[in-house]
Symmetry: C2
Subunit: 315 residues, 2 copies
């Protein structure tokens, strides 16, 4: 009987306010699970997908986990670590199009599972590139701020896409994250199109430069109050907030409940907030849920926890 | 006889590549000196200016040191620490309009000298605000990335202008800076106008966000190679480089001589480079000087040293 691996890859919060396309954070939960086996048939076969309500394609070229697995096979073959193929089972354990990096988690799990199965022929950077290839299949835009923290864990900065370089950032151990996912849809493609259509003056850009720098400084020094103040985004949040019913009320509710900082998770509709302990994070999360209900009539899910510092890992 | 104070305030390199208007670094040399005495005459009298070739006004409203001293008097009076006035002697010991924060150093020296003379009624934040008021008189645009490091020393991030908040960043002790000032003029106002006239797409902005974050991460971890790679600016350098004769050749010469990173100092025409020891910094500086001469026929001055971590200080 063939060895079957199970890999969990965490959901992620990208952008973190000022860091559009360059900052991402791995959550303790939720996340996706990929099971993988070596196969004698060439290429990638997606045997089963659960938890997606039938929305995802089992065609490996059109599925982010399949696409990233194919890219790992290609890179492994180029290194002489050939395998005929792999069979994948994808278990979606988090909402799609939520802003929590659902496609990024599946991409990360597919890439990491395939690399593990082959005996780790690829280094972490190449695994990331394969996972980005998968993510690209979903977003049409190669970005790494979800896949990098999902693969690596922690809080990750993408310094540069060309050449590709990521920088793991220090994670204060008392940093807690509340994420609320309201039951409505925001198209990632549409959310991205709106941002791409904008032109910005240097005066609009400068505050984001200052806040990205301050956010990184705060992570390094463990200054959570400064971290909270640096969650300011004048570039993308104003463009995307109108796509999220009740966003202004939810953000206000988070601050009223003691949030250190609050903004849109990825392209939304999820909203995240930072706190310095679990009690505050729970309270803030419940306040955000209440605000989504009262301001927009939306049910929601709440995820509260510290930062996941392990990244994608075998179960 | 009245007590006369002498305050040295260092030259600075603003922007540091990706951090337009938010990052600045204090140099070991050059810098400006302000002498100050209490006076029975209300307001600020500028008794003498040396080293400016007669270019600067002795009208305190039109002189950055005078303007910042007036602002300190105003803030001190509001705190009940009234003094009639001060007399200032301004000794310019660095080139004007060089990109090295000449007006910022004079502003810092004027503000710090006046505050010291009055027995420090203002805290550092208020001294900075007064120095910004002085700088504003020169640039027409209130920015703090020169005055903050000149007052505080080290490498300083301006997180936000409204509300005003600066963050001192860690300074690796082996970081060395080479700055070459070519003998040509770039108007700060014109250099700023060119940048303000541009509109940027989000794709142009993202690399600067990544590099500002990486620069701060590198300072925190002491990774000078990463620091060097993060000195990338796709927003402002391309707009301002054409104002500096020979810039491309000078930058190439810096890298050929081993520079970790290189960009325009402030609004130019000075160019700075980073190195990890004094020998390399001297070699890189000489290579940049040679390139200014051969590519543009320009003489230049070279300043080499570590980061000034003291800031404005009594002599």
């Amino acid at each position: 009987m063939k060895r079957r691996l199970r890999i969990f890859a965490p959901a992620t919060v990208a952008n973190l306010g000022p860091g559009f396309d360059v900052l991402g954070l791995a959550l303790a939960s939720p996340g996706d699970v990929v099971e993988a086996e070596l196969s004698d048939h060439p290429g990638v076969e997606i045997v089963e997908i659960t938890g997606d309500n039938g929305l995802l394609s089992r065609d490996p070229q059109r599925n982010v986990a399949g696409r990233s697995a194919l890219d790992v096979l290609r890179r492994a073959a180029a290194k002489g670590a050939a395998a005929a193929g792999v069979r994948l089972w994808l278990h979606k354990q988090m909402p799609l199009a939520s802003g929590l990096g659902s496609s990024g988690a599946s991409s990360a799990a597919g890439a990491v599972a395939t690399n593990e199965l082959l005996g780790r022929p690829l280094n972490q950077r190449d695994v990331l590139l394969s996972a980005m290839e998968g993510e690209n299949a979903a977003s049409g835009s190669p970005h790494a701020d979800n896949v990098a923290p999902s693969v690596m864990g922690g809080i990750v900065l993408v310094r540069s896409y060309t050449p590709f370089e990521v920088v793991p950032l220090p994670v204060p151990s008392n940093l807690h994250v509340s994420v609320v996912h309201p039951h409505c849809k925001v198209s990632t493609l549409e959310a991205r199109r709106l941002v791409k259509a904008r032109a910005y003056s240097i005066d609009e850009i400068v505050p984001n430069l200052g806040n990205v720098g301050a956010l990184v400084a705060a992570l390094a020094s463990g200054d959570l109050a400064l971290l909270g103040r640096s969650i300011q985004d004048g570039l993308v949040e104003p463009v995307r907030a109108p796509l999220i019913p009740g966003f202004a009320a939810v953000k206000q509710a988070a601050f009223d409940a003691g949030a250190l900082g609050c903004s849109i998770a990825g392209s939304g509709p999820s909203v995240f907030a930072f706190a310095s302990d679990d009690t505050a994070a729970q309270k803030i999360g419940q306040a955000m849920r209440s605000a989504f209900r009262s301001a927009a009539g939306l049910d929601s899910d709440l995820y509260v926890g510290t930062v996941n510092t392990e990244g994608a890992r075998p179960l």
